[in-house]
């Protein structure tokens, strides 16, 4: 078992990952577009499915109250 001395893996703050800033800045120019389209599409699909089920399966089964 590893000894008790603090190792680099333990200290998250001095943990520079190997991403260089220029590439990150370049990427950040377009970044949330892909995520927005993917997540937006998913949520839209979800709400559409919800509305279809509400109108085409739930309501035709009769009122409930």
């Amino acid at each position: 078992m590893p000894a008790d001395q603090p190792r680099a893996a333990d200290n998250p703050f001095e943990e520079p990952d190997d991403i260089d800033e220029a590439a990150l800045t370049a990427v950040l120019r377009t970044v949330p577009l892909g995520a927005a389209v993917l997540a937006g599409g998913a949520v839209a699909l979800l709400v559409l499915a919800y509305l279809l089920i509400y109108l085409w399966i739930f309501l035709p089964r009769g009122v409930v109250g």
């Binding site: 703050f13 520079p16 800045t25 949520v43 709400v47 509400y54 309501l59 009769g62 009122v63 409930v64």
Partner: protein, 185 residues
């Protein structure tokens, strides 16, 4: 902390997140608005009826006496079905209801928690000892449906189910005191 300056300010990221939250908020609001709309226009609610009844003396009550169970068509045409959910059976075993007419189903339990659903319909309620569960509905399709107990109520839970016959208006023939019973076939 390695300090970096780059032209994407932190507020721009916050801005996209807020834009995203607002966009999806509109979609989620759509789900709520259809609930409110159908509640206002078609009176669609979850079945609720805070009507207390003592489970211990339920079998002594008038409304839920054995002879009063099942479907009854009142003089003014309202259709009411009273059903007892007790450990491991429904009384009556078969419930006849008219199609396309407002029906009120009233359930009560003298012992433990039960629950009912009628397959293919929106009739669904828990039957909690201490309360009369009441469902107002209208059956849109005719046929022989299944009404199982869908809440664990003991070792006989799997065998606890009843039949529901949705009869076309023509076949609903109440007897002298308005009782409608299942067609035996």
């Amino acid at each position: 902390m390695s300090d970096r300056s780059h032209e994407i300010p932190e507020r721009w990221i916050l801005h996209t997140e807020l834009l995203w939250a607002f966009g999806v908020g509109v979609l989620v609001a759509a789900t709520i608005s259809i609930i409110v709309f159908t509640a206002l226009t078609r009176n669609i609610n979850p079945p609720s009826n805070v009507e207390r009844v003592d489970p211990k003396t339920l079998h002594l009550s008038g409304e839920f006496a054995e002879q009063n169970l099942g479907t009854v068509v009142a003089a003014d045409g309202t259709v009411t079905a009273r059903i007892i959910a007790t450990q491991f059976m429904f009384a009556p075993h078969c419930i006849a209801v008219p199609q396309r007419r407002p029906v009120t189903l009233r359930f009560a339990s003298p012992d433990v928690i039960h629950g009912i659903l009628i397959t293919g319909t929106n009739v669904n309620t828990m039957v909690v000892p201490g309360y009369v569960a009441q469902v107002h509905t209208e059956f849109t399709r005719t046929g022989e449906l299944l009404m199982p107990c869908h809440e664990y109520c003991g070792l006989g839970h799997s065998e606890m189910w009843a039949n529901v016959q949705v009869l076309p208006a023509a076949e609903v023939k109440p007897d002298r005191d308005g009782r409608v019973t299942c067609a035996q076939h």
